[in-house]
């Protein structure tokens, strides 16, 4: 049986990790390579890196970071942010990424999913979506949640699968930042309609939220979070021991 995956997400700006990183006893923890090694040792099943830079120069710094992470950490690595063409896929895949996630660029040009899946394989293409309820309808937002579209999230997930996406990251904007738990209702709505893996994102505030996720949204394959891991409020090692004791299949690391 496949293990449920726990995935920390690192936002990288100018070669450093940003967003609430607060580790005691670890110096220079905003170094993405150090943090990646730390999470790997703690039992993270995968790492997601978002490139939140704008300039071409900083983009170079990001690919350099990926290259160095891939030399040290031997678990799957996903890259997102600033991916809008096959050249972008090529650039990050050549620098150590195993999967590439697209979001706004796929809204603008859905065929990017198909072209990338044909060239690199379905398993390589992740469709990431920011979703919020608008008049009770799960609605997709672009540009990091700033632009409302008229796209229904469940239909967009199905379309993404048809085009060749191998995985979906479903980020609930309603749950994000509130720390009240994952958006079970939204996850179930999407999981019911697709057969590819779905990664839950947004809302994790404590250890039991992950149990609730896998218990109440059994179609979800993974839980993704950033700040609660960075702030060390939740240790991945303890989280996995807790899930294992609660009967959720997880990959445990021998300490």
């Amino acid at each position: 049986m496949l293990a449920k995956r726990i995935i920390p997400c690192l936002d990288v700006h100018a070669g450093r990790v940003v967003k609430g990183v607060n580790f005691e006893g670890l110096r220079d923890i905003d170094d993405p390579v150090r943090l990646a090694e730390y999470y790997n040792e703690a039992g993270a099943d995968e790492l997601v890196f978002y490139d939140i830079t704008a300039s071409a120069e900083q983009r170079g710094l990001f690919t350099d970071v990926m290259k160095r992470v891939a030399e040290k950490v031997f678990i799957p690595l996903t890259v997102g942010g600033g991916i809008s063409s096959l050249d972008d896929f090529d650039r990050v895949l050549k620098n150590g990424a195993d999967k590439v996630s697209v979001n706004s660029s796929a809204i603008k040009n859905p065929l990017l999913i198909r072209e990338a899946a044909r060239r690199y394989g379905d398993q390589c293409v992740v469709l990431s979506m920011d979703v919020k309820r608008v008049n009770g309808v799960f609605t997709v937002f672009g540009r990091g949640g700033r632009d409302q579209t008229d796209i229904n999230a469940v239909e967009w997930a199905q379309r993404g699968q048809e085009l060749g996406a191998g995985e979906i990251v479903l980020n609930s904007m309603d749950a994000d930042g509130v720390r009240g738990g994952f958006d079970i209702e939204m996850l179930n709505a999407v999981c019911e309609k697709v057969t590819i893996p779905v990664v839950a994102s947004g809302g994790a505030g404590n250890i039991s939220h992950f149990y609730d996720l896998f218990k109440n949204a059994p179609g979800a394959d993974a839980g993704l979070a950033a700040s609660i891991f960075h702030s060390k409020e939740v240790s991945i090692h303890e989280l996995k021991e807790y899930l294992n004791a609660s009967g959720i299949p997880v990959r445990r690391i021998q300490k």
Binding site: N95, T195, R251
Partner: protein, 206 residues
């Protein structure tokens, strides 16, 4: 020296990076001559069987790999590289493999009786069936990372595998000096590195 075969499919950085944490004596090569003088050969692969098999045979690399394996050189196939070690595959028609291991590659979807996701992607636990050199540093229940839609059937060289719905997916196979991993050891954390370490030991003792 360990040679990682570059026959134009997939990303070789991860596998070479993982091997480099264990030894500096590794080279990525597409040269037939380079394969003649190595202590061990790693055959990686991501993508579809027909394309990979055609590239291997057309380049002549396939025949060199067969000759070296038959002469006793340690060989490790990874993911699609493992599938290529078998006699044939039914991915997009029927295509022949290197025939170094007995068995064939078939779509998992045809044999699954429960509704589960294909590809079989993620971390799954290994159940060791028969110890071999590659299982030296791993334990029953260790997790490894799989990404595949086809699997080996009708084989007589199973060492370890993982349960997926009603199927038992061969994860580690071997026959003498020929080894294969369906999962990605280079993406399976410390467990994967230990499997590669065990393979390097085979090459040192060959």
């Amino acid at each position: 020296m360990i040679a990682i075969v570059d026959y134009g499919v997939g990303n070789l950085h991860s596998i070479s990076g993982a091997v480099k944490t264990l030894t500096d004596d590794v080279v990525i090569t597409s040269e037939k001559n380079a394969l003649m003088n190595t202590d061990g050969i790693i055959l990686p692969g991501v993508g579809a069987f027909p394309d990979a098999s055609e590239k291997l045979f057309k380049s002549g690399l396939g025949d060199v790999i067969i000759a070296r394996a038959k002469a006793g050189a340690p060989l490790l196939g990874v993911c699609l590289g493992m599938q290529l070690l078998f006699e044939k595959s039914y991915e997009y028609g029927e295509h022949k493999g290197l025939s170094l291991l007995k068995g064939e590659i078939a779509p998992m979807a045809n044999d699954l009786t429960q509704k589960v996701k294909v590809p079989h992607m993620g971390w799954n636990a290994l159940s060791i069936q028969k110890e071999c050199a590659l299982t030296k540093y791993i334990q029953n229940g260790d997790y490894v990372y799989y990404v595949h839609s086809f699997y080996a059937k009708g084989l007589d060289c199973l060492n370890a595998g993982s349960e997926y719905a009603n199927l038992f997916v061969p994860g580690i196979v071997s026959s003498g000096n020929v080894f294969g991993c369906q999962f990605h050891p280079e993406k399976s954390g410390s467990v994967g590195l230990n499997i590669l370490k065990a393979f390097l030991e085979v090459t040192e003792n060959a």
